[in-house]
């Protein structure tokens, strides 16, 4: 399988990465090189094989459903580019 220029633009938008028209042919070539490389997996017989979900056989641990952290709003917003009163600020979302 290989990707065309339209698909490259669609993936970039899904990934929320701006890509200029000039970059598309180059990216298309790189992605197709990677897809050509992984193509060899199609020769493996995977009939009846379970997909791996956990590399170490173990039961997912669960913690007690209690509050054990919090009251650290200053820490949470400390690295944000734009905040006010412990809120993150973003460009207007709702008209």
């Amino acid at each position: 399988m290989s990707v065309d220029a339209t698909t490259v633009r669609r993936i970039a938008h899904l990934a929320r990465i701006a890509v200029s028209d000039a970059e598309v042919p180059h990216l298309q070539g790189e992605l197709n090189a990677m897809l050509a490389f992984v193509e060899q997996l199609s020769e493996v017989n995977v009939d009846g094989v379970e997909p791996m979900t956990s590399v170490t056989p173990m039961e997912m641990k669960k913690r007690a459903d209690v509050v054990n952290d919090g009251e650290i709003a200053d820490d949470i917003v400390r690295n944000a580019p734009d905040t006010t009163n412990h809120f993150f600020l973003v460009p207007k979302v709702v008209e």
Binding site: R16, L35, V38, V44, V49, M52, T56, P91
Partner: protein
Amino acid sequence: MTDLTSLTIAEAREGLASKSFTARELTDAHLAAIEAARVLNAYVLETPDRAREMAKAADEKIAKGEGGPLAGIPLGIKDLFATRDIRTTACSKILGNFIPPYESTVTSQLWRDGAVLLGKLNNDEFAMGSSNETSCFGPVTNPWRREGSNTTLVPGGSSGGSASAVAALLCMGATATDTGGSIRQPAAFTATVGIKPTYGRCSRWGIVAFASSLDQAGPIARTTRDAAILMRSMAGHDPKDTTSVDIAVPDYEAAIGKSVKGMKIGIPKEYRLDGMPAEIEKLWSEGAQWLKAAGAELVEVSLPHTKYALPAYYIVAPAEASSNLARYDGVRYGLREPAKNIIEMYENSRADGFGDEVRRRVLIGTYVLSAGYYDAYYLRAQKVRTLIKKDFEDCFAKGVHAILTPATPSAAFGIGEKGGADPVEMYLNDIFTVTVNMAGLPGIAVPAGKDTQGLPLGLQLIGRPFDEETLFSLGEVIEQAAGRFPAPKWW
């Protein structure tokens, strides 16, 4: 005091205990070495004030007889580990000037045991790379050069800063992480020892995530013993990482020097690649003979799905990365590019903040997870992963204790030499190491010899799940037979 930096951790531990020198002197010697070696670009942040403070605290504890197992030992920390109040960037522009308000579990255990932080070490951006050329701080230089040449070589990656700093005596040991070979490949390129423990052995909490089902932390050090000492402090269960395993951490150092008599060592025929350099082939059989001479039994084994590990990895790892890196949105931390609406703000921030390799992997990961392609790519790759793991399980079920392979298909190469035209060329570096991540197994790289150009080469030992001890015992046998390889100083 100039030779304090050339001590091993084990030797420094003795010197500190016998009061031959202080932790402060040991730290100062390293800070001076770091300053004189900035041309290597191994450190992206030096923390001399913090280091001296921690060394002073270590001296006080040692004086009271309360020094921990790493009291006063100066270490470098890969910039993928969050360090409280100290800039942590994953060497990506998108994290900008991120100052974590928390400490990673692994580093907190090192400080608990008395270690000293010298600074943060360079790595490939988000640990994506095999040459440390993708860092936003620029490439790291390998202290090793080809005989009679001034060509600057890569230290390998992604833990290139860690490997370079340890080899160049800029710290006594370093933390590193390994998703497809990022501890073992740079260790092999710099004649250092690097171990990726079993998945679940070290907590991933507070380590910048790349591919969560593959990422593991481990140490890089100058000897097998030093790696064992560091491993004991780094390992252990952590309730904050649900994939960390709740089993006791052994005294890894006790495995050093233990007899390997009667152990069965598998030699996998699938690792004998067409066109493999003769010197790698030679090193491999030499390593096997050393283990045999120590009483181990060599058996040929088959891991039939080996060749599919790298292509399966380049689906699974980018898929997980595209999901993990969705958090860099310019809202809560890191770089934000102004835009007139929020979607454009995300798109511009991520376009400007991610480097080429990271962008490539996020895009391919997004593609293989997207509607209509998930089954053909991601699901198939996870099935192939089950088969890769089963190959190893079958092998261990036949009584094999560990598997011996070359660590890398070549020695270190020049900066800018690989991957320029085709990214896959760079990915092939990890061909011997990536299987281990796919199967969640422990793997150690130990220096074993040099190529015809005088560059170090390493061997890899792959172990049963949670049997890192056997790897330390076998690694020590190779180290004793091969000797150690100090990097010639030219800077």
